[in-house]
């Protein structure tokens, strides 16, 4: 079986490229890290990949508006190739700043060529950057390839501009489309986002933007409560944990409904409930196989 190929871009202030690359490699992708300059000057790179990831960070220092200038750069030299990539079913994942880039490029919630931008990611209602783990719900029967079969997820958010705003207002027709393209909703109001939305997809479900960071939850020891729920029980193991003697360790029990996914054979642990970020990446791998 050949591994699906992912391009993870870096440079120009992107700063989550290392862990994002690791997470995708761990999930079974062949990852190519590409500098923004390289991908813009060698657009054929996209034609051999199945997944494009724009990781989190502070591209261009978040100046003017987060994601704005990187979006401008990509649009100016790569727009057509990117549309072709999306049209032929390639997956695009923008995480945090990457989500902001996708929105600025007008690829979410609609990624067809004629779509006009209808949403922005504005400053959090609290006016501050927030680093916090949040619990979120996946809408039932989502058509997004990254979220099929998932229901409830915990991941960290780490952003200052994550409040989704619909230009036409909350009662507009655009708002209805946005609602239908939601892939994640916060359980609590963390940033004033429209309809509590934490992530969006396009009509085909192959372009996805997330404010929370899936690459930040690929081992149990990344969860802020892992030391608490492990007490008195077998400690959750590093990386995906195995069921032990039929008893699900409490952390996994708490993070229910993750879905059972098969890990790539190279991993030391065969199968089980896995950390939620990994589950999202696994879905991408499954969709491409």
């Amino acid at each position: 079986m050949t591994k699906p190929k992912a391009i993870v871009i870096h440079g120009d202030g992107i700063n989550c490229d290392a862990e994002t690359s690791f997470a995708f490699e761990y999930t079974g992708f062949e990852v190519e890290r590409q500098h923004v300059s390289d991908i813009l000057s060698a657009s054929q790179l996209l034609s051999v990949a199945q997944l494009l990831v724009i990781p989190g960070g502070f591209s261009f220092g978040d100046e003017i508006a987060s994601g704005k200038i990187l979006a401008l750069k990509i649009k100016n030299s790569l727009q057509e190739q990117l549309h072709q990539f999306i049209d032929r079913g390639g997956l695009v994942l923008g995480i945090c700043n990457g989500f902001q880039v996708l929105v600025q490029m007008g690829l979410l919630p609609d990624s067809n060529r004629k779509a006009k931008p209808t949403v922005s990611l504005a400053h959090n209602s609290g006016g501050k950057f927030i680093n916090k783990w949040v619990s979120m719900q996946v809408p039932q029967d989502t058509h997004c390839f990254f979220f099929k079969g998932l229901t409830q997820i915990e991941l960290p958010i780490r952003h200052g501009e994550g409040r989704l705003v619909v230009a036409g207002g909350d009662d507009s027709a655009e708002a209805d489309i946005v609602r239908s393209r939601a892939v994640l909703r916060y359980d609590e109001d963390v940033n004033g986002s429209f309809d509590g939305i934490a992530g969006l997809t396009n009509d085909k479900g192959n372009v996805c933007g997330l404010m929370p960071h899936p690459e930040a939850f690929v081992r149990w020891t990344q969860h802020p409560s892992w030391t608490a729920v492990g007490a008195g029980f077998p400690r959750p193991q590093l990386g995906p944990a195995r069921h032990q003697g039929g008893e699900t360790p409490p952390l996994q029990r708490q993070m229910k409904n993750v879905g059972v996914l098969t890990m790539p054979p190279r991993d030391r642990i065969a199968c089980a409930d896995i950390p939620h970020g990994l589950a999202i990446l696994q879905n991408a791998a499954k969709a491409l196989n």
């Binding site: 440079g11 700063n15 990344q222």
Partner: protein, 1027 residues
Amino acid sequence: MMQAQTISQTDKQKPGKQDFPVLCLAVVPKKKFDAKVDIVQFPLYWITGEFTTQSSSQAAPQGLDAAVSVLQEILTDPLQEDLLWAIDTSADRRSSWARQWHEQGFALWAERQFLPGVTDNLGKTIEEALTVSGFASGIKVASGAGFLFGLNTTINYPSLESLIEYCRYKHFHPLADRFVVHELDRVANEKTGNQDLLTFPRVNLPAAKPVEVISLDLNENQLETLSKERLLALSASEMQAIKKYYEDRSVQKIRQEHALPKWPTDVELEIIAQTWSEHCKHKIFNATINFTNKYASDGDLPREKCTVINSLYKTYIQAATEALKPKRSDLLSVFVDNAGVVRWNNKWAVCFKVETHNSPSALEPYGGALTGILGVNRDVLGTGLGAKPLFNTDVFCFAYPHKDLVQRQTMLPPEAIIAGVRKGVEDGGNKSGIATVNGALYFHPGYRAKPLVYCGTGGILPLEVEIDKKKVSGVEKHTQPGDTIVMVGGRVGKDGIHGATFSSEALHEGSPVSAVQIGDPFTQKRVLDFVIEARDLGLITGITDNGAGGLSSSVGEMAEITSGALLNLDNVPLKYPGLAAWEIVVSEAQERMTISTRRFAELKELAVKHRVEVTDIGGFDQRGKFEIVHQGKTVAMLDLKFLHKGAPKMMLEAEWSPPPVKAELGSVPNDLGQEVLQLLSDPNICSREAIIRQYDHEVQGLSVIKPLMGAKQQAPCDAAVIKVLYDDDAGLVVSNGICPQYSQYDAYLMALCAVDEAVRNAVCVGADPESLSILDNFCWPDPVHSARNADGKEKLGQLVRACQGLYDAAIAYSCPLISGKDSMKNDFDDGTVRLSIPPTLLISAMGRIPSVDKAISMDFKSPGDSIYLLSAGTTSLAGSQYAINKNWTALELPTLDLVKAKVIYKILHEQITNDMIKSCHDLSEGGLAIALAECIIGSGLGATVSLALPELRYDAALFAEGPGRLLVTIDPVHESECEKLWGSACLKLGQVSDDGQLKVFEAGGAPLLTLGVEEMTSAWKTSLPID
């Protein structure tokens, strides 16, 4: 304020080839402003340059309208914002803005922009965006903000002056910004153009001054005056040493050969001043000190004892590490490079450095803290052949805002300092993609003299790098004669000139404005990515950062490796013309690294990809000289030996006697529960969540023990644990200790406690205490006796005591010191008022946990678990937060049994490794009661404890503080085994309960206090004076 109100119009009046029109832009929200609110703020921009382009790009704008439409796309969110624009020579356009706002009910409008030459990151980024969009390169953008003042503000601040006063430090900083207020009705009706509207802030320097020769044919007083006037911060004896050097025959001969004058050029004198500055040379730590201990206790009776200490650094700091080296084969590079380097595994090393940025933060806190964090990142980047930053730490000491604090004209309000520092560290860390994993915040009114801003960074570097097909050590420099000197990153401007000498002086009225710098985390992130890739390609043979002293220090220091360097200033890229040669050499313009390479062409190619500027600025050689060429002529030729070793040693006097301590204790309060709640809400104890959440503490995906853990993400962890490599289970533990509350009693105790606290915090989460390395950062009030500093000898005596304590603790705990820094002039002095900080020593620790899944957090885990107090010392109310708040003092100071503590920490580590310990928390501010409360808040569980401590007052039992104490919970089945291991160090207190209550009973069984988790949590979550 005059400066802010007078606007130079000279730019417009000077026609020239750069006389492009200035386009003024305002980005305003689509929804109508509400004049009833206080203040509306929105972005303003000034753009100048060619608005058409030669490029054939589709997006290339043609003419002004096209340019504006591109600008609209770049600068606005079309869904939410509109763009207003005007050419600044046409009055009516901007008048129309004013009319519009006036009609909406606003009376006043303010414009803010950076003073010419201040780093404008937003402006720079827009310039790049415009170039991407087809504008001709060379377009200049200045960013700023507009403010409309609503009814409330204009009522509260009726005069323009009072309004500006209100806005100062809140909406603008006079050292960094221009801020001008306009009356809207006047602007709206202006027909002829507004002379006071701001236009593009051009740097307009007169032609650069030619290199000057400075005669040292002067007497001692004149030499001292010269040093003061030129801000050299050199002493009379240092000036004499310089004079002597220039009088040397052999020096004169060489100078003649190079057509140099007999006496120094200004370039040479500035280089010597930077290199010999306290900041760079640590003259106080290397001084010969006559130390008089008036209370030496090595006989039966206290007596006076005099000792000569030949360098505090050598005697106590280096000596401790040397003594420990045989036990620690992992120490790869200590005290020589920009950070201390320790082996991690067979492929990688880790390094750690902590810096202070106190003086700049006192003047302009945002820029000061931002450049502080970016500066220490560069220290790590400049370690070995380049280390990648893994984590940041930050420790702040502030005066808590209070009406009784001293206010002086040149002092910022404490709120402004705190807010600026916090924001600076946020931008510095978050935008660089470096997780802020650990820190501390301590309030004491003494920090009104200067805030302390400690910024630390740890990094990872390879043990081996391949250069020219040869494997060489990655933790050393390999610069050779013939290697090219390369400047990487930002351009050189007037920023930060005299930073190194400035931090070596007390803040005073004339502190140089050019010391204000604002860092650019985005440019630095590009530099960082570039350096790491260049290192891995073997293009870097040596690297160091440009920090204090600029090129003078970085090239001057690297020149020592090969024994010679020639620096060509004509190649150094400048931000703007008009810099004198000496200014180029000592400028501390940010985001720059100095690299040596043998493959400049390849380095340059890589730099294009990363959009980083690299310049060949000279070469390394082995002539024993530091030579500088300017406009084709040699302007400096300094003997390297003289430059680095020629500074005369300082001779200083130190005295110490224990200060008289009185016992003044009130009676035990009736409601001790209330006392617990009050302490929980104390600024030195309460939750740091508001700050922690604003710093990204997880980026890079390596975190294991985060600042806040537990079931509800609110358990305040004692130390951080991160992975160093994604595919390796070993964890790096990072902690700190800072105990300035004891320095007024005895700085020796303060140092012991700081080391103990750092070690204990690391042990709490599972670190192997035998793997710890520590860093020392001394922040002291000026310890050099003078007329203005009458108690200088006592302050130096405290420094000696602190060094002795540090030595004893480091040796006892087997913790080598691997890096350190001192900041010795933390005083405020405006000629009338002189203030000094409490002597403060920060200890930062770094260690290892063999497997991260063994790490534990401090929150209680299961009801029924047994709670133990482990202690290796005695406690006292002296210096305790409880006593400080009540203004009480106690006679006895706390003590620490270093040997016992070391044994306990080692046992605990083994038990944590064997899964015996459920939770472990250090006792610090607030004592036992607060430690218990925090474990309850962190877990939502409860505790039932009884205080079998009959010899103490109950408030002392609850709130007294002392080093070497830990609160530990275990499964009751392990009780007997644990008690046997812990012996006399342990005391069983009670059990973890499931009722969410802290219940404390007297020894006899009578209830002493009961508190619920909710009331404790809400007290603890008291907000800090931080936005």
